[in-house]
């Protein structure tokens, strides 16, 4: 693999991690000593994507302008990797007027028409939507691809099966990405999913299914690259499942008492391992690592400052945007 690609993948993952660490800090800053989910600068549920960076970085390295992403309730890594404006996204997470949705969406409802990014708080909801985006791309012959992201729990939803079937029947340019982080909140995959790999389920719809083990960003990059190329060339949809890692809780405030693998989790963090790999290969050295990390933190802190400085929405505007005006 080209060293520039390796460096980009690493840089993307570091940026995402820096972002999630900053949101983690801001989220909890004013929820102490007693955790109150509705309190503080960032209220509400917060699902952070630390540990799942290889999926977003590896997949979105292939997205080009005009490609779409429908993401999940855990959306930040894909939003950043797909190029959503970090400041507007952060302002939305803080519920401010300069946010992507002017404070009406929140962290699970980020909509960015510039990059065709959207996400949803309902498990599996974005999968059929991606099929429709792909239909529009196909009809217009743009060569674009719709990337539909879901967790392994969503692969047990009807919407998943309906979307795969429809995309296959209509042979549309969709890349279905399943992030298998082993857990549907507190229920292990083994208790919820009838097959060890969702790639198997792709066969049921006559489309290719690929599973990447070990949360390996380069393997994700390679598999996604083939699938995206196939889709752009009219070959139809692919299902890509990545065995990834939920480094933190389902949401903030989740003590994870149900999680028997908790002690091993920090050791499975994908970023230190990849960094070591790139150091050994001579792609990174101390200076490069420090530079990449420093640049990421600086960008993230600028976004946080921007969000905090943006005004809160005027309550009298609560009724705005229910309908589009003619």
């Amino acid at each position: 693999m080209e060293q520039t690609v390796q460096r980009d993948l690493y840089q993307q993952m570091v940026l995402i991690r820096a972002y999630e660490e900053a949101i983690l800090r801001e989220y909890h800053a004013d929820k102490k000593p007693v955790f109150d989910i509705g309190a503080g600068l960032i209220p509400g549920e917060m699902h952070l994507s630390a540990g799942q960076e290889p999926v977003a970085a590896g997949v979105c390295a292939h997205s080009i302008p005009g490609d779409s992403v429908t993401a999940t309730h855990r959306p930040h890594h894909f939003a950043l990797a797909h190029g959503v404006d970090m400041k507007a996204m952060t302002a939305e997470i803080f519920g401010r007027v300069d946010g992507l949705g002017r404070g009406r969406g929140g962290h699970m409802h980020l909509f960015d028409p510039m990059t065709k990014f959207s996400c949803s708080g309902i498990v599996g909801e974005g999968l059929p939507v991606a099929v429709g985006q792909a239909l529009a791309f196909s009809r217009r012959g743009t060569g674009n691809v719709a990337i539909a992201v879901a967790g392994e729990g969503a692969a047990n939803q009807g919407a998943f099966h309906e979307a795969l079937n429809l995309a296959a029947v209509w042979k549309l340019p969709v890349l279905f990405v399943i992030e298998d982080n082993d857990w549907g909140i507190s229920v292990p995959r083994s208790a919820a999913t009838s097959v060890p790999s969702n790639a198997t389920r792709a066969q049921a719809y006559g489309i290719p299914g690929v599973r990447v083990e070990d949360n390996a960003v380069e393997a994700v990059y390679a598999a996604a690259g083939s699938a995206v190329e196939r889709a752009r060339n009219g070959g139809g949809p692919t299902l890509l499942e990545v065995h990834t890692l939920r480094l933190w809780g389902h949401f903030e405030g989740d003590a994870q008492g149900y999680r028997d693998d908790l002690e091993q989790v920090p050791g499975r963090d994908p970023i230190p391992g990849y960094e070591q790999h790139l150091r050994s290969a001579g792609v990174l050295d101390d200076a490069a690592v420090a530079r990449i990390r420093g640049a990421a933190v600086e960008l993230v802190e600028q976004a946080i400052d921007f969000a905090k400085s943006s005004p809160e929405p005027d309550p009298s505007t609560v009724g705005n945007y229910v309908f589009a005006q003619a």
Binding site: L100, R104, F111, P128, L135, A136, E162, Y321, A324, A326
Partner: protein
């Protein structure tokens, strides 16, 4: 019709709908049709007859029986600038796809702070009266109207079906277009005599949110919609001979609800009968009553009469179903009660 009116032909409601769709498909290549049996069959209730032959399978797409899949896909296509008309064959089938409708289609514009539009029309057949049972006979417009973010139109006649369809396709919001099987003018179902009527030639737009006075009268107002408009008109004609002058207001849409028109007719007559084929409780009839009372309880000189489904699943047996439907007999009784006769 007066001699100086726009030229018209007589069409049934289904043909008027299709004509409006076809005209918009000619005008805008982003308009497409998708749903179950919308292609070669032409729509189970003739809502898409002839469109496949005219526009081809790229623009008139039969879908799998997979409402979550294809209604979700219509949302995605709409956010990408297409203007899909997507058919939910019977409104009763909303149960398998309500997440896409309620949690997604209706909310995207708001959640995005107005940055993402969802210009689609969700067409769906409503209503009973032909023994199709509890899962194929509901109206449910109150359910859809309850959810913020969806416009809900309910035409009662061919001209309005054409005009509201044109407006719905051009609207940048998701519009639920609910057509009653009993006004489609289908050859295989007892036809309401007004299911065939004059439709203006050429472009015809009926703005969404404006009720129509279907019949002027002085003594009592019937506020209603869809097939029940025709029952109300029949009752009004019958009662005219008995000296009761009935005004009939056809709402034409639930969202937006034309509150001004409701207040105007009630202010005029002081007596109100609400006829609603949907379930009575927690629905349109209660909403109408609330809006009047919020404005001025003194407008009403006698208590409101409601003629609606008495909160029962639609029964199969004819005698039972017609005990649940807002029949002309029930409407007439309510009107006579309102005028104390």
């Amino acid at each position: 019709m007066s001699s100086n009116a726009a030229p018209t032909r007589r069409l049934n409601t289904a043909k008027a709908m299709v004509e409006a769709i076809a005209r918009e498909m000619e005008r805008d290549e982003d308009v497409c049709v998708m749903g179950e049996d919308v292609g070669a069959y032409g729509g189970i209730f003739s809502s898409t007859t002839g469109l496949l032959e005219r526009f081809g399978p790229q623009r008139v797409m039969d879908t799998p029986i997979s409402e979550t899949g294809f209604i979700g896909a219509a949302i995605g296509a709409a956010t990408e600038g297409m203007r899909p008309i997507v058919e939910l064959m019977f409104v009763d089938f909303f149960g398998v796809c309500m997440d896409q409708i309620y949690n997604h289609m209706a909310k995207i514009h708001y959640e995005s702070g107005g940055n993402v539009k969802v210009p689609l029309v969700l067409t769906t057949a409503v209503g009973g009266g032909y023994s199709d049972g509890a899962q194929h006979s509901q109206c449910l417009w109150g359910t859809f109207a309850h959810l913020p973010g969806l416009k809900v139109v309910v035409p009662s006649n061919p001209a309005d079906a054409a005009g509201l369809m044109t407006a719905a396709i051009r609207d940048d919001n998701p519009v639920v277009f609910m057509f009653h099987k009993g006004v489609q003018g289908l050859p295989w179902m007892a036809k309401n005599r007004r299911s065939i009527g004059p439709v203006p030639e050429g472009e015809h737009v009926v703005p969404i949110g404006k009720a129509a006075v279907a019949r002027e009268g002085r003594d009592v107002s019937i506020v209603t919609l869809s097939l029940s408009v025709h029952h109300a008109l029949d009752v009004a004609e019958e009662l005219a001979a008995e000296g009761v002058d009935v005004e009939v207001l056809d709402l034409r849409s639930l969202v937006p609800l034309d509150t001004e028109a409701i207040l105007a007719t009630v202010a005029k007559t002081g007596r109100l009968v609400i006829v609603d084929e949907d379930y009575q409780s927690f629905g349109l009839s209660g909403e109408i009553a609330a809006r009047i009372v919020e404005h001025d309880p003194g407008l009403l000189t006698v208590p409101i009469q409601r003629v609606a489904n008495p909160d029962v699943p639609i029964p199969y047996a004819r005698a039972l179903e017609y005990a649940a439907l807002p029949t002309p007999a029930r409407i007439k009784a309510a009107v006579l009660k309102a005028v104390a006769r």
